[in-house]
Structures are given as C-alpha cells and as structure tokens.
Symmetry: C2
Subunit: 254 residues, 2 copies
Amino acid sequence: MIGAGNVGFHLGKALSLLPNADIIQVYSRTKKKAQNSAQNIDCQYTTKIKNIKTDADLYIIAVNDAAIGTVAEALSTLPYLQEKLVVHTSGATPSTVLSPYLSRIGIFYPLQTFSIQKEPNFKTIPFCLDAVNEKDFLLLENLAQQLSTRTARIDDAQRAVLHVAAVFVNNFTNYLYTVGADITEKGGVPFDLLKPLIAETAEKIRENAPRDMQTGPAVRGDEATIVRHLDFLEGSGYEGVYSFLTEGIGKLKR
Amino acid sequence: MIGAGNVGFHLGKALSLLPNADIIQVYSRTKKKAQNSAQNIDCQYTTKIKNIKTDADLYIIAVNDAAIGTVAEALSTLPYLQEKLVVHTSGATPSTVLSPYLSRIGIFYPLQTFSIQKEPNFKTIPFCLDAVNEKDFLLLENLAQQLSTRTARIDDAQRAVLHVAAVFVNNFTNYLYTVGADITEKGGVPFDLLKPLIAETAEKIRENAPRDMQTGPAVRGDEATIVRHLDFLEGSGYEGVYSFLTEGIGKLKR
C-alpha cells in the first residue's frame, strides 16, 4: 500500500482483513504516517521508494493526485515492477499518468469521502474499477467485491464525469452546510436545529430524482420571499451565492 | 387543522394520535385534499371557512405562506375566535401577519421538509414555538414535546434566520444533487454511484462543524483540477455555479 493518508490508511486495513489478501508493506514518505498505518494493519513500512518490496502481486498508489505520476515513475525503476499490476485510487486523475512508466495499470477507486478519525463502512462504498488487461480487471473486481456490494467498470472519461459531479454533491454541498452554520450562529440560533432537515434532504433522494424533490421559494417563483431573503443577507457576503443558485433553480422549471 | 397540504396532512395525523389531543375538523378549500386528510385522521372536514367549528381550543393554520393572512382575517370574523389560540406552522412568515386580526397568536413550526407520500418521523423533528401569552406557549410546548424530542422557543427574528439558512442547506443542496444527477446522466454514468457519498457528506456534519469537514480542490487551492473541471463543464450551463461556489470555499481559507 503506497500512501498512508485517509484512503491508504482505511483501505489498507480493510484489505488486510480479507482472508485471501495480505498487505505486506506500507509506504509513506512521512515516517509517522507510515508507522501509524503499518501498526494499524500489522505489517512492515518504509519511507523510501527504493526500499519498496518487489514481491507483491499488487501495488496500490493512494497518494495525493499531484504525486501519483512521480511515484509511478519511481516505482518503474524498481526490479520486476514492469511485470506487476499497479493501480491508483484517485477519482481525479486519469490512468494515463501511469502509462508512460508502467504497462499493467489499473484503477481501484472507492467513491467516498474519508477521514482518518472515522471508520468507513466499505460494504456501502462503490468501487470504480478499470484495468488495461482483462485478467487484472478480474483480480481487482474480485478484491473489490469482497469489500463492497457495489462495483462498476468505469473508464477515465466516466471517472472524470463522476469526479466533477462529486464536487457538486460533496464539496459544494458541504460549503452550503458551512453557510447555513454561519448564518444561524451569527443570528443567535443553534445550527443543530437544521440537522434533521439536512439528513432528510439527503435521505429523500435515495429513492427519488432530486429534480422532483426540489422545494423552496426559487422553484415556486416566490419573488416576495426571495427579496426578503436577499434583504436579510445584505452585507453577509452570501447574497451572490443566494442569487446564483436561485437563478439556477429557476431554470429547472422550464 | 386549517390546511391539508404536506404539513397539515402529516401534523394533523400525528396530533390526532396523541392521547390528550383530538383533531375535530380539517379545513381545506380543495375538497379532495380536505376529504383525504379528514379520512386519514378520521374526523370531519369543511371547504368553507365560515363552517369552521368554533369550539376548538387551538386553530392551526397550515396553508401556504401567501394565504396565511387572508385565512387569519377570515377566521377573526367567526364567533368566539377572538378568544381562541391561533397559530401558524410556517418558517417563512412572521407571526405579525396574524396580529392585525387576532390576539392569542403563536407559532407551531416543525422544521422539516414534508411530502405527502413519505411518513415523517416527528420524534426527530425540531419544533420551533412561540406565543404572545405565556400560558399559550406552555400549551404549545406541551403538545410539541409529546410529538418530538426537540423543541425551542424561537421568535420571529430567529425564525427568519432559520428560514434563510434552511434554504441553503435544503433547497440549494437539493439543487446541487440535481446538478450532480444531470452531469452523471449526460456523462453516461449511473447517479446511484454518488448516493453513498451524498449520505456520508450529510452524516459527517452530525458530529463535526461543516467548516472543518470541507474537502475538494477549492479548499486545497488545487488550481489544476479546478481548471480541468471548468473545461469539462464548458457549455453545460454549470460553469458559473462551479466558479461561484469555488470562490466562496476559497474565502473560507482566510
């Protein structure tokens, strides 16, 4: 497991618990992270790419996007690595960053947001997989199916689509939660009161198209409420976001 | 129960099931809705305000915001209604729309998004309450506490804060889900793959401040990814939202 960040830490542990898989070594350039993850998995670690063991069947690159190419290049100089299956776990980076250096390449992308503190439930996490060779794909699929109930073959173009969409439903949504928290805190109301609404908003689209679930002044064309909200927001710095999203929702009606 | 929309339908039913409360009549100007809700609650109904029974202890106005004032005015002309407690259930409308017509007024606002098809779990829904008279407030609080584990006294100014914040975390968030669904569908990828991410994004802020949970290219200042995403979005109509929200997240860093 190459990388000991949020994904490497949790995915490494989960893989190590499978009956027919074994993480033999963790690499991170940060000693503390490498140690931490290796201790959690109960395996060896290294902080030097040149000391990465060359007898693994699979090399999983779970480092930040900017470093994937550099790591792949360094790996390619190790003996036997040209014959090995090397994948990365990123939604944002095409598999083609690996191809100048390695030939048996693939993708092993768990589509979820991870944080060190929180144990993920891999069973519910979709694995987006791809590989140049059919046999390698089947190996990745077999591994993923032991971790999760949902796997899909997703090529670079489709993964780019997913990654942009994920920014909207994850990063931007979290930003709206931040705005909601800021507005309530400045207005002297506990943000907690909005948490059941947030949970229900996410819950509703499990079974329904989000478009059909749209409510609020923008989709009703309720100008009076919109003007009142914009008055309220004056000077908050959030008038622009409010107007822009209101306009976007307004276009849904057509 | 005056109104048989999403809130009136479900709240009326929930109240009717309390051991010490009884819905004696449902009003809706739409006969079918009045019938439906009355049948669900097992009580009488009327479609004419002049036929509203005058022997209730509490009148709950759960009609759309634009009609609350008109309904209050019409109620005020009925015998005995000047002595009765009249509340509305809206987050968007100040209690002052009732005060020109009635004196024992209050607010009984369940802070949640409702739809007819889906049975709400009132236990988890915060009730935002207010009343002009202390005794009336205690009556409302007692009722709400039988329905829910969370009640709060929230005045008009605080409710306005909550309502604006709710637009951000509910209406705007749902719009971002819609954009995510649109991008994935047009890109030939199942939107389903994003649903665990959506659930986890909402789940994470139950215990953490949303600001601390912010991830993604905008908060990392990852310009290369942002440019790639904007290229991808060209012609989709979503470049503007992407830029605007990215800019907003960028400001969080400072």
